[in-house]
Symmetry: D2
Subunit: 320 residues, 4 copies
């Protein structure tokens, strides 16, 4: 994520702003405002603006004229109550805007969340930079045998080497040909006066999906938390999870009470099916339950046991 000198200057310039406002301010978020937080090899995420804080949620829930209550404990309690009971609208009253640099194949997953506002860098209008994602060796893995859309074991060092070789070569080749198509060098100069350049909106199609793009992405807190509950989850692809975790840290700084409630009721919480609840009732009464009696299929049963730290082979039989 090497910013150019002029980009760094632009960021610094904004970071040195000192404006007076009557609006609520999140002190912790101000500290990292505009700062690019590195994600993956060339990506970043930086907060470029925000609206509201934990208080704003309380105010909205109460449709109040002022700040609502003065007591922090009451406000915290209300936020926990709202989170627990899925009263989601007050969380929509906070908003955050990010500038994100991310590989295109991740951008394609990300954009499936339709509740955000997005402005993407236009490759019809501008030329993309020569930056593409190459995973770290330790993040290369085989197709998972159990989960049809996930990763399994890591690759052997030699295999990994070969994979990285292909990815690097092909991306470099793609970019070099992209420039040929545009008939432009990296400084935007015409390469060959004898040839015409292809329109940008066409030339871009030669780039591969690991090239980086950028966008401004703005979302309200409720929808951000929903995004994070899916994308910070262990089933999400590693590359998008890396961004989600960076965002969780940001949320923690921005709205600490909400973050705490989110961790407690959503991220660390668990859902059980009708069969799961029945099984729990039996287990609590001391009955021994195995998969066959549970009403669950083998996969559900494994998920159930994992949530409760039980051994799927023995269920709640703790005699052994």
């Amino acid at each position: 994520m090497p910013l150019s000198v002029s980009q760094k200057d632009s960021v610094l310039d904004l970071q040195e702003s000192q404006n007076l406002t009557k609006r609520p301010v999140s002190q912790e978020l101000e500290k990292i405002l505009y700062e690019p937080i590195g994600v993956l090899d060339h990506g970043f995420i930086r907060v470029v603006d925000y609206m509201g804080d934990d208080d704003a949620i309380v105010q909205a829930a109460r449709v109040s004229y002022g700040k609502g209550t003065k007591k922090v404990s009451q406000d915290r309690g209300l936020i926990h109550y709202l989170m627990r009971h899925r009263h989601t609208t007050p969380f929509e009253m906070c908003e955050i805007k990010f500038h994100i640099k991310l590989p295109i194949f991740i951008a394609r997953q990300w954009i499936r969340h339709r509740t955000a506002n997005v402005n993407e860098y236009s490759a019809r209008y501008s030329v993309l930079e020569n930056e593409f994602y190459v995973p770290k060796k330790e993040n290369l893995a085989t197709q998972s045998a159990s989960n049809k859309q996930g990763r399994g074991d890591g690759l052997t060092p030699q295999n990994a080497e070969e994979v990285l070789e292909i990815l690097k070569n092909d991306a470099q080749n793609a970019f070099s040909h992209y420039q040929d198509l545009l008939n432009e060098d990296e400084d935007g100069h015409v390469r060959d006066e004898e040839r015409q350049g292809l329109a940008r909106e066409l030339a871009r199609m030669n780039l591969s999906l690991n090239f980086y793009t950028q966008w401004y992405w703005k979302i309200d807190l409720h929808n951000l938390l929903h995004f994070l509950s899916l994308r910070a989850d262990s089933h999400a692809q590693y590359e998008i999870r890396a961004y989600a975790h960076a965002m969780l840290d940001i949320v923690k700084k921005w709205v600490p009470h909400t973050y705490e409630a989110f961790e407690k009721y959503v991220m660390q919480g668990a859902k059980f099916s009708a069969d799961g609840v029945d099984t729990l009732k039996k287990m609590i009464k001391g009955q021994k339950v195995m998969q066959k009696e549970s009403g669950m299929n083998p996969r559900e049963w494994r998920e159930f046991c994992q949530l409760l730290s039980l051994n799927p082979e023995t269920g709640n039989d703790v005699t052994d």
Copy 2:
């Protein structure tokens, strides 16, 4: 719109806040932040938070690291260009949050715009106040003969008097019975110890549609402008237009370049149908066109002539 003493104090308290921020600040909007602007007899609208300014639109359109260009003229030009070409996403990068007090029948029109975040005062949870809308005499009118969903001529003074009498009496009666149902007086005390109070979620159904409700309403600038293009239009019901006009003033303070472009390309602009364009071409060439030759039906023709300050009876025949 008489705020209670404690409400006024709460507002003042917020208005005296002085926080430092690195975020962009709209100086003109800060001046009126939190201030209730009266609309109708008991309603108001007040800005309780905002995110971004004209610069933020430019930044987003350019996906820039800093503030974008320094030259005001270039930024203004870009904003006008974006508005003209319906590049709407950069305008979504600004957000504003209002606290609004409005009659329920207007709230029902308003909420049809689904792109905002809303937190309404809950009459399941709380008791509504004894405030209801009674129009001014000059705003009373008959059903329009030409426009099936609008107002026509004003009422005679005597007729108006009778109308206001009915509206006032019925609302007062409804509220008094609302309190009977709740078995509560205005201070929340039990009225009659011998009787039970009805649940709030039921008692509220006795109130009429001119009672006031309140909500926090948050929306991005693009969708706000869309709302205003419909609700500040002369075809909108007077009561919602009153709020729309108050909001237009706010937009002007907040994002002056955007406001200017919006006035120029949307509010004061005009759309013409295929037939309208054909007719315009003929008229420009000096041909005389009347409704029959225009391809438009009589109503379309009247609308067309109105946009161009032509007399529908004579079209562009200016010889007389």
Copy 3:
């Protein structure tokens, strides 16, 4: 819900349609198509169109060229899997359109779900009918002491009588004055030639919130299920729950596999917080846990015990 003769004829006319289509058809839903299902005293809900069935979910999940698999068991399994893992997009591929008649105060709760398409009967354009909701005696209740936005005990017969008297009289009075304001009788004739009628958009404000309105409401299956998970819940207001339950029956006819999965994983399922999961783990191991050790506050603890059919006073101490 007494339909007029001409309304009944219109419905019958549609019900006798016999069209050939290549689209998938839900046999059970066709049987009740267009039929008004009575809800509350004058309300109804009727399906006026639908798109897709259980198969359509499977097809979309597989982005398939044909119907997907032939085996019912596989399709059912996939639907359960999608529901369990919150893969919501395939459920968005089915759509249903309702015509609903409902009291305005319920319409105001309902419309807060922003993901549907709505066309409401316009009281700016048309005159509302003399139909208002009056609860049954057994549905009248006091404000709940424990839940600040719910109902508590039923009213005494005498109290209930008084409540109904007020509601009926006030609604009748409001409607009668609505007609005075419009200067129209129920057949649309001018009442008093000497007086002017008030515009409809104004006169309507005199009606109370228990008057009925109507709308066409169209929503995709995923968002419908989300609506039902909130509105068929025991915490929802009785009057909206009545509609939600009617819709659950419709969903069962339309997409039986989805309905089954929804019941199993959502309606009959349960969510637990981090503390809840920890407590469950302890209880399964045979440890005795009471509220104080659980990390939960008293209200959470009661909710936790209720989900597991435990006595909140004794927790999982089953020795007594």
Copy 4:
């Protein structure tokens, strides 16, 4: 767009369905239901389901019990009125579902319309096919000099040849290496038993943006028309316009009255700014107006003249 034998069979199978329904049916749309309509070199679009027709718009606008009016002319008039006055909600009452195969760089533009439901073929779960877009020679062009995000002149035959050579070679190379990474041949067999295959969610990043993807895409008629107004516009990229035009043909078959109104009021209509309207008024009165007097900047002036078939050099001076 060569469908495999089994895909063709699946399509035929659906096309031979004959189901009875009480729902409205669009005869013209039924004729092409499920049929892949070729777009670009390997893409297609096919209608897989639909809900409603022109009548459904009329019914919703009237919140009617039956079909609404019997007179076609009245229904047509109402649809034109709704379109002209931007009463958009009745158009939301029709819904259509497409299966679309399209190059990834076009999918990325497309998905920016957030109002549709989407199920995309998952390259985490499945292996992509060896199909990539290569433009026709006549569609290759240079970057436009006047429009920073469009195409200008066509390429010379030799230049075009070179461009196509690069695009083809690089795509073939990318796919071949994709298979190496997966360690799979086209039939899904392991290529080299000694090596591990890379997880699909990673291997896909080596493919270029001209590879084809597929999705189910479902949208209501109002939002579809909005999409088409932007994407069938001459400023849209040629490749997405090709899909938009195919969809316009489909809309014409499906809802002919709506299509006619859309062409008349939107596609063939025109918008003018405040300055444009002032200029029109002057021109109609016979005044000569040139760019300098118009209040418009040169670019706006050119756009204005183009809409009215005027020569930008001479304005409405028709003496020469």
